[in-house]
Symmetry: C2
Subunit: 342 residues, 2 copies
């Protein structure tokens, strides 16, 4: 139970109210509350009690005005809808949550005008820094205008290599995927993926091809199958690949949704997964990957951790420590759709 006390005008209690109640000056009240050493113990106690009674919370605006630091940060996303932003956002929130930083969330909805509008608003609120979260891994134009605070780009790198960008290593992810299929004893590996206009798709192809080349192999069909990121493409492409290349014994898919479609077609065709063909997804989207039959092995890009790192980088930059850009490796999450064969 917090006892309550009438404040004239029903406004939030100020340090002046606390000082008055404790019978000291505002200067002394300030020192007591901020744990400065030069306050007599008894005085401190009286002030803290008064603050408690009034449920006093120091006005962060006034503090920010004085110190030049607000303890706030802007998080600029281009689409909240997209699944990729959310874990990054959670990770960033985590990085700040522990300390005294509060996060402004702004969704630009993929609109450059709206983004500029938000940036202006954030700067007028004197945020200490900005994190810009993209929705695709393709490089994006850097923020324009006079940005007087540090900026960290997450997921989508800035096109300006001098900016700090924390990104996902999709080439490495593709390599990881194919290396796992090879480790399972597969030799005839196809790659069914999404739109070729996505850097992410092209990077994964590059990694997959490199891993195969290192084993003196190449993709079944001698090329990746580009299409769309969804299940229906997975179903259609799988039917085609199996029809044209019956020897296929491993399929690396560019997304879990594609993989889900691939699994359905293989099931329809009576092909045994993982007995006769291994299937591997990408994204490790729990709702999709963990509930298919069989449950899907997938590559997880550790997006939450990426968000945390981005937050920590911004922290450092605010303190004047400029750390370099970084590419983030993924990890394999084994489920039932891949298994070593004799």
């Amino acid at each position: 139970m917090t006892s309550e006390r009438e404040i004239p005008g029903n406004r939030a209690p100020t340090l002046t109210d606390v000082a008055k109640l404790a019978g000291v000056s505002v200067a002394t009240a300030s020192k007591a509350i901020n744990g400065r050493a030069e306050v007599k113990a008894a005085t401190r106690v009286r002030v803290l009690e008064a603050a408690e009674v009034l449920s006093f919370a120091p006005n962060a605006l006034a503090r920010g005005l004085l110190s030049g630091r607000t303890g706030t940060v802007g998080l600029l996303t281009s689409d909240l809808e997209g699944r990729f932003s959310i874990p990054i956002l959670m990770g960033a929130e985590d990085a700040f949550g522990a300390g005294q930083i509060s996060v402004f969330l702004c969704d630009a909805r993929g609109d450059a005008i709206r983004e500029m509008h938000h940036v202006r608003a954030l700067l007028s609120r004197r945020v200490d820094g900005l994190i810009v979260v993209g929705s695709r891994t393709d490089a994006r134009p850097p923020l324009t205008g006079n940005i007087p605070v540090p900026v960290v780009y997450a997921y989508a790198p800035s096109a300006d290599p001098d900016d700090i960008s924390i990104t996902v290593d999709n080439v490495g992810g593709g390599r990881l995927a194919v290396d796992h299929l090879l480790a399972c004893g597969r030799r005839n590996i196809a790659h069914i993926t999404g739109e070729a206009s996505f850097q992410a798709a092209r990077d994964r192809v590059e990694g997959a091809t490199a891993a195969l080349a290192a084993a003196d192999l190449s993709l079944v069909g001698d090329r990746p199958y580009f299409g769309s990121w969804d299940e229906s493409w997975g179903r259609a492409a799988a039917r085609m690949v199996v029809g044209q290349h019956p020897e296929v014994d491993g399929i690396f898919c560019g997304s879990d949704q594609i993989a889900r479609g691939v699994l359905e077609t293989l099931r329809d065709l009576g092909r045994d997964v993982p007995g006769s063909i291994s299937v591997l997804g990408f994204d490790n989207w729990e709702a999709i990957a963990a509930h298919s039959r069989p449950r899907l092995t997938s590559i997880d890009m550790n997006l939450q951790r990426l968000g945390t790192i981005a937050g920590q980088r911004l922290f450092a930059a605010i303190d004047g420590v400029s750390l370099p850009s970084e590419e983030f490796p993924g990890r394999l999450v084994m489920r039932e759709s891949t298994v070593p064969v004799g």
Copy 2:
């Protein structure tokens, strides 16, 4: 191209800098920038040009300190991970995005301590109001302590009926679902749903049962099938229901994931959907509902709109207008899994 100009100490330009450059007093500069009438046109132009040159952005902290309004709002979620929070959050962001409000995002991760910590921080930043977004529709304890600003609860209502809560009408959603199946000519309707511990599950059962009763019918099996919210329960339950009640011709599912599992089993069993059985999901989760075979008809709870309404309610409350709580109806989204029979 914004021309840039040296500001001593590399700090953000202040109104004083602008005034100096324009050759007027800060008072006049302030009036010019804020569009007050009592400024000579020529003076105004000079001030605005100076502001432009310096890329001056008025310090919102200083303004907030003066006016007592910060133009900020706290958005408190209990889990960002959950799909339900995101659309609500987007809707709320929308409601504010148009105006001059910025949103602090805080994720309490379902932890009451963490929530209190965030509330304290937000109050010390003098937010003008709070939106509390729950992750389940079960009522939650109201925020504790001395909250001197308006609070709106979204999705999860506050247990205190005097608080403003914007919620989803799950009873109505259940009724909507069954009414549609009835309209399709189905008479033997089963209900497979998630955990009975969820208010949402129980409410939908209530709505479904009421709609059936109005047509002098009852649920196949004379009870709902409670289980978990995922596909595997949908698969298992469908097998059981069809086995025990072969006459079943409509299945209302408590989630799209359950429905997805139901569809798979019916496919395995060679039952024709929607020809011989109609299947209806709940949530209208695009990634799940729009990619099944056949594509799934579902109930959409309009969560984004719910978020927008919550934002508008908070607006009103901040302006001293207290609107009542509101329950939000869902809507039917037709796809291929339901169809009228002759």
